[in-house]
Symmetry: C2
Subunit: 230 residues, 2 copies
DNA sequence: TCAAAAGTGTTCGCTATACACCCATGG
DNA sequence: CCATGGGTGTATAGCGAACACTTTTGA
């Protein structure tokens, strides 16, 4: 029997952070899941997460989990909801503060954890542990809403990318189709892109222009207030 | 010395819910604050809040606090952020899950609590207890963002209202000015309003048309996806 | 008589959207 | 030779934004 030495006059819940890690494979939006090695829900897939420590904020905890799982620091990460269902963990009352992160799949190293980790396209995610099915739905909603206010999509692409890649990313996130010419015109008019005057030879020997995100212009646009319309 | 009978193998934080209650007085957006009667921050203003109980969700806790303070049930309430700063409460580690609610000031009854409660225009809020200054800023940001996706403003107006009242509300929330004719045209074209074919005599004996929010049309519009552009 | 507030339509410019052809490559 | 995918420009319709005068009342 473990020793229970932290005592309070009133019951306290456990607090965890969970991290929905999004990646883009060039065609589809993916999430990184880990397979649970212990009960409850042993063998089921879940989002990486863990207990918040008493000397760190939830954000710091989420970043710690993210780095343990991917080796990445300094990635885009955002709190989107706290899940507080009374029965969401069968062991004890656990609330979780959930974050989503946007990473480049190619930069992800295998996690420190022994736990098996795997990317799943968001349309092919199996039934998850705990209430993580709900967490995924809410994360997607939050991502789709946030993309109207911040050009966060760039966090999912390599530094240099083609217009078609960018379009496919927006189509994958928002679940819609755009006209190639209109998408390109709108994006270029926004002024968020730097044309690198450089071409890449694609698999089919076609040559495509490369662009990169222009953070300076973004900061300027944000200052005077703007919205991404899609 | 109080008895500490709830014990855990690892330290657990306290979890509270706080509720930013917005009301509209016809001209300005207001928040309801309560004066703290005990230390810490005794005598300072703060948002109503309290400890989450082990058999209720954070949302249920926030609704309970809201009803205790205003007598109101079934109001619009939305979780917007969890605040987890390590030092945000000097007594012990406390995280708070924060909600904002939209109420009609005229329907608010004095709270059950002995605590003094008072409405403050958002531009005249004094320095608040804990990190509640930050909570207010985040609540306002969240409200302003959410209003682009949901016509939540109606929750702050009486059932019947004039176009000018509605315009003043949007101006107060978003901090901008609109042209009367353009605002009216846009609103009517959206189809969210029912024209009551009824007039009200204002204080200056002018006659103004009355409208009400049309939830059926809203449900229909939401179904096929729409955005409020302001 | 002056200020404040409500009712009412039109014009202009911009932007969103729809749309087609050429070219190079690989199969 | 056909399918795929990238590059490029225009025309139209609808929307956003700017804008003025009249009327009534209270101060």
């Amino acid at each position: 029997m473990e020793e229970k030495k932290y005592c309070y006059a009133y019951p306290h819940p456990s607090v965890t952070t969970d991290c929905v890690i999004f990646g883009f494979d060039g065609t589809k939006l993916n999430v990184l899941l880990v397979e649970r090695g212990v009960e409850p829900y042993k063998g089921r897939w879940a989002f990486p997460g863990g207990f918040m420590k008493m000397n760190e904020t939830a954000l710091e905890g989420a970043k710690r989990e993210l780095e343990e799982e991917t080796g990445l620091k300094d990635v885009y990460i955002k709190q989107f909801h706290a899940f507080t269902g009374v029965e969401r963990d069968p062991r004890e009352r656990v609330i979780t503060i959930a974050y989503y992160a946007l990473v480049r799949i190619s930069e992800v190293k295998g996690g420190d954890d022994a736990a098996k980790a795997e990317w799943f396209p968001i349309n092919s995610v199996p039934s998850l542990a705990f209430d993580h099915d709900l967490i995924l739905r809410e994360a997607l909603d939050a991502l789709r809403r946030q993309i109207h206010f911040e050009p966060i999509g760039f966090q999912l692409l390599p530094e240099k990318f083609t217009m078609t890649q960018l379009q496919h990313l927006y189509e994958a996130i928002l679940g819609v189709k755009f006209d190639r010419r209109n998408f390109s015109n709108k994006m270029l008019k926004l002024g968020l892109l730097t044309d690198l005057d450089e071409r890449i030879t694609l698999v089919n020997k076609k040559e495509a222009f490369l662009y990169k995100f222009n953070p300076e212009n973004y900061a300027f646009l944000k200052e005077k207030g703007f919205r991404l319309e899609f």
